[in-house]
Structure formats: C-alpha cells, structure tokens
C-alpha cells in the first residue's frame, strides 16, 4: 500500500466549506444486484454540497459500484438516487442531464487515444454543452494549466506518462464545469512517484469547494482532505465518520481489521 505522507502536500482547508442546506446527492434504501449477486445492500447516503467524501473498503466491497451508480454507469434495481435534484430512472434524458453535471475520473484514465489532449478536453463541452470551439479551447487551456500540463495540449494521450494522463482526465472532466466529481481509484494504476502529482491536483480541486466522492486507498489524502470517511464491506456501508475519529477510534470490528491491514 503506497501512501503519501501527510506533510508532503500542503492543504488549505479554509475554503473547503460544506453547505448546511444544499444537498448534492441523496441515496435512499438503494439496492443493486448483478444477476443473483447482491452487490449493494440498503445504501443510504446524503452528500451535502462541498463535501469531500472518501470511500474505503476491501476490494469487492462495492465502493466502485456505488459511485458508478451515481452517474448511472451502473443501474440500481431498488431505492432512489437523486443527484443535483434529478432522480435517476431509466429516463435517458435525465441520465444525460445528471452526467453533464457529474464529472468522473477512472482508475485507467480512459482518455480517448485517437484525440489530442486538447480535443479530449473540448469534445464534450462543444458537443454536449454546445460551447463554441474557441471558448471551449480557452476553458481547456485554463484547466490544463491548473493541472500543470498546458504544454502537452497538442500531444496524444499515448505520448504522456500515467500521472500526466490522469491529470488530463481530471482536466477533461472539469471542462464540463461539473458540480460533483467522482473519483474511482484515481491513483491505483499509477507508479508511486506519479501518485503525488495526481493527489496534488485533487487537493487543489478540493480547495475550490468542489463536492467530491473518492474511492481511494490513499489514507493520507483521506485524513487531510476528506470531511467524512465511509467504510464499506460486502456491499454495505459499515461505518462513517470524520477522518480523525475514523482513523483513531474505529467502532466496527471490520473497520479495525481493515485499518490494521493498511496502516502501518
């Protein structure tokens, strides 16, 4: 388990404010099955605007599936998921509406290899939001600068390192100007020396007040950035708490076992 030390990344928590009233995501009694396999069991979760939530848990616990349900990459069979005031049903129009407002970063980056970095970043704004090309490119440059790779704009993804690709993937999502960002193990496929550059970008993003849900094994990140850590096991939310409490005073046996295995 690679872990970035807390002192490596400076974090300014002053701008990370959580709204008291505005709900970003609401999940009520949600269940999901893959065939006969019950992957998610009675999930209840309310995420306020500005929250930074880290979802931890052993592999196969359903944490990725959970966040993939939030932008309907996975379908839930029971219960309710409301994102940004829109309930996710099989209505394709609503699904697209939600996806426009929810950015997602994948473990394997999933950049489009046949398009340049710039085209990766401008495609969705131009063809989903209808933004003119010049404006989309300006926005793209802005975010590429923020993830510190403006000079790579005209290269193809295959010419970039893993860390650079993941930073582009974050920029690509931000170009859609989302209200919520989902991170599905964004650093798990990276070499250790590249993890930090991606985490820095994520910290930077948290400092802008973005609502973030991160499935990650980076407990240093969880401690420093998250306002809430959720522990999942076997498709259930077992425990959730503020990071300090979660790490120092875990309540549940399975949480204790998990923490003892990943923290040294």
């Amino acid at each position: 388990m690679s872990e970035v030390k807390e002192e490596d990344i400076s974090v300014d928590r002053s701008k990370m404010t959580v709204s008291e009233t505005d709900v970003a995501i609401e999940i009520n009694d949600m269940n999901k099955w893959y065939g006969d396999f019950h992957v998610l069991k009675d999930i209840n979760l309310k995420v306020m605007k500005g929250e930074r939530i880290v979802i931890a848990g052993p592999s196969g616990s359903g944490k990725s599936t959970l966040i993939r349900c939030i932008n309907r990459l996975e379908e839930h069979q029971q219960g309710q998921i409301i994102v940004d005031g829109i309930e996710l049903t099989s209505d394709l129009k609503r699904i697209d509406e939600v996806r426009r407002e929810v950015g997602m970063v994948f473990q394997h980056f999933n950049l489009f290899p046949h398009l340049t970095i710039m085209e990766n970043c401008t495609l969705a704004p131009m063809w989903v939001r209808g933004i003119p090309k010049a404006e989309a490119e300006e926005t793209a440059m802005h975010y590429l600068e923020r993830v510190k790779i403006p000079e790579q704009a005209h290269k193809y993804p295959g010419q970039l390192s893993g860390g650079q690709q993941q930073r582009v993937a974050i920029a690509r999502s931000l170009c859609m100007n989302p209200n919520i960002m989902l991170f599905d193990e964004p650093t798990s496929a990276l070499d250790p020396e590249m993890i930090k550059e991606v985490l820095e970008v994520m910290v930077n993003l948290a400092e802008t007040g973005m609502t973030m849900l991160c499935v990650t094994h980076e407990m240093g990140f969880a401690r420093q950035v998250a306002n809430r850590v959720i522990f999942m096991d076997q498709g259930q939310i077992i425990e959730q708490n503020e990071p300090e409490e979660f790490f120092n005073n875990p309540q549940h046996e399975r949480t204790k076992l998990f923490l003892s295995q990943i923290l040294h």
Binding site: F106, F112, H114, V128, M176
Partner: protein, 375 residues
C-alpha cells in the same frame, strides 16, 4: 499550494545516428543475405530459382510476345509467347463491354469525375472534404446513372444490357463498397444494441446473408426474384446484381466492424457516457473512429475480396471484365495457343492493380492514423 516539481523536461533528447557498420549496401547484404550458413544457402537457392524462372517469364511476356498483329497468325508460330496484340485489339471490349463506341466519352467522363472525387476524399491533406463527400455519395450516383444510361438531356439511351467490361466491374465494386461500409456499421451497432427487436433483426440479416454463397444470391436475384414480382414489372438485371452484391457484402462488413467494436476497452464507452455524450455522439466521436481504425485491414480485406467476387456476375449473364475476356477467348481470327492465357493474364493484371492499390492505401492510412499506444 506550492509547486514541488524540481525539473520537468519538455522536449525529447536528440536521437543519435546508428553505428556505421549497420549502413551501406554491403553491410545490408552481409546482415540480411549471408549472415550464417543456412541463410547463405537460402540466398543461393532463391537466386537459382530466379535464374531459372525470370528468363522464361521474360521470354513469354515480352521477348517472344507478339505486340502488333492484324490477326492471330503471328501468335500461332511455335515459339510465340503472349499474344498481346489480341488483347490490344479487344481492349475496348474489355473496358466498355458492348457500350457503343461513339458514346465511350460518357463512361470516360464518369470515370474521370469519380477518380477526381475519390482522390480528393482519400487525400487527407486536402480541404473541403464535406463538399466532395456529398458530391461523391449523392451527386455522383445520379450523374453516373443519367450519363451512362442516357435517354434524357438529348443523350441516346444505352440500356444496361450493353454495359460491361472493366466499367461494369468498377460499377459493381464501387456500389458494393460504398453501400456495404455504412450499412455494415449500422448492422454491427444494431447487433450490439440492447433493444431486442433491433438486435435480432440485425442478427437475422447478418446470419442469413453470410451463410449463403454469393453465387446463390446472384442466381436468386436473377432467376427467382422475377417469379415473385407481379407480372409486367421488371427490375433491371444489373440493379438486381448490385443489390445482391451490396447486401451480401454488408453482412460481412458488419461482422468486421463488430470485431472492432468488441476490441475497444469498456472504459472508452464509460468515459464517453460519463462526459454526457449520448449514444450517437459517443459512437460518432469516440467509438467508431477507434473501432474502424482497428479493423482497417479487415475492411480492406473485404473490399478486395468483393472486388474480385464481382467476376461472379458473369454467371448470371453479365459481362464484367472477366466475362468479356472469357467471351473472346475463343475468337476464331485470333486463334492461337496462348490466346486465352494472354487474356486471363490481362484480366489478372487489372484486378491486381486495383487490389494492390487498395492494399497500399490501407497501409498508408493505418500508419497515418496511428496515434501511439492504445489505452
């Protein structure tokens, strides 16, 4: 937050020249032809094979070949090689079939326009692709039908029974190619659809057409179809063959394209969806460009085999290039031992030129579209 990168290189280091021993003709021969004993033996054997075959071939094709003759008499000499004079004499027939000689300018004009448009479309650097695409896919078919068939604008009508030769081969092949690729893409997407109706209709179409030999399709189109049509209605023979060939090819193309769709990592679909692109936009911008690029060799393979399969239409009484060559292969005034052989050699050479051209273009496109590592 402070920037903690100490040094980030922005440009690649200069490549160094290769060692001198790796370059030059002698170095190349030493490395590739005589590197060790088995290699040297193979080189000598290959050389002996060339010494044995090349002079014979040369004598047959050029040295003893008859290029100019009034009729078959010189070709009947015992030492005579290929009878090119016969091909030259029949050349017009091979190219235009029974099309009247006074109207040759019409297919010529269509061919020139088509060639110009294709060149423009296939040459990546040239601008205004949209205009030439519309001209090619919409304008050209109308233009070609009006000009080739005639009967309007003061042009004398030339019925399709008179069409033939290379002209007919090119018409069938290009219609087959132009129809089969987009239809094949639609069917491939249909087969992967989640909508049961679309999915099963696509599967039924593909499996039905793919499981039938092309000859059967052509026979059905020319012999059986008229039986089902109401009396008095006739569908042009060439049109029937065109539809048959195009639909047959579509089924194959659909499976080639489906192969490309399946080879794409799931993450590409997910990333496209997560960005809010709907089905058609994600297919158009993300999935198809990559999937089609992956299967360029398969697509061109299909095109090449289609181009050659057009010769099967001679079975239903159409005279394509091979049909015209075959029809004259026993012509009495050119009777000679190598008469038929020369004709077939000519047909083979023409087919080869077109197919090899397609092959080279596909290699060029593959290289051009290669943007480095896959995901």
């Amino acid at each position: 937050m402070s920037n903690k990168f100490a040094y980030v290189r922005t440009e690649m280091a200069q490549a160094m020249p290769p060692p001198v021993t790796q370059t030059g003709v002698v170095g190349w021969m030493r490395k590739n032809l005589f590197s060790d004993i088995p290699n040297t033996i193979m080189t000598l054997l290959a050389f002996a094979f060339l010494v044995w075959t090349v002079p014979t071939l040369y004598n047959f094709l050029i040295g003893n070949a008859i290029f100019v003759a009034e009729d078959g008499t010189p070709c009947r000499a015992p030492e005579a090689g290929a009878c090119w004079a016969y091909v030259i004499d029949r050349f017009d027939f091979y190219i235009y079939g029974f099309y009247p000689e006074s109207e040759y300018w019409r297919p010529n004009l269509v061919f020139v326009v088509a060639a110009a448009l294709i060149t423009h479309l296939l040459w990546p650097e040239l601008p205004f692709k949209g205009i030439s695409a519309i001209a090619f896919f919409v304008g050209l078919p109308i233009f070609a039908v009006i000009l080739l068939n005639g009967g309007s604008f003061g042009l004398p009508q030339v019925t399709t029974e008179k069409w033939g030769g290379l002209m007919l081969t090119l018409i069938i092949a290009s219609v087959g190619i132009v129809v089969s690729l987009p239809l094949g893409v639609v069917l491939a997407l249909g087969r992967r659809s989640h909508m049961p109706f679309v999915k099963y209709v696509s599967i039924a179409f593909i499996e039905l057409w793919r499981a039938v030999p092309l000859i059967t399709v052509l026979f059905m189109a020319s012999v059986m179809l008229p039986l089902f049509l109401p009396e008095g209605t006739t569908i042009d023979k060439i049109l029937r063959a065109l539809v048959g060939v195009a639909l047959f090819q579509t089924a194959y193309m659909a499976e080639v394209v489906r192969g490309g769709l399946q080879a794409l990592p799931k993450g590409q679909y997910e990333a496209a969806h997560a960005l809010g692109l709907n089905y058609f936009k994600s297919m158009y911008f993300i999935i198809l460009p990559q999937a089609l690029k992956h299967v360029i060799p398969g697509i061109v393979n299909s095109f090449i085999s289609l181009f050659k399969d057009t010769s099967l239409v001679s079975i239903v009484g159409l005279f394509d290039l091979l049909g015209t060559v075959q029809a004259t292969s026993a012509l009495v005034e050119w009777k000679a031992p190598h008469q038929a052989t020369t004709g077939y050699l000519f047909a083979a050479a023409v087919f080869w030129i077109f197919c090899f051209g397609m092959s080279r273009y596909s290699i060029y496109m593959e290289r051009r579209l290669d943007t480095g590592h896959k995901e």
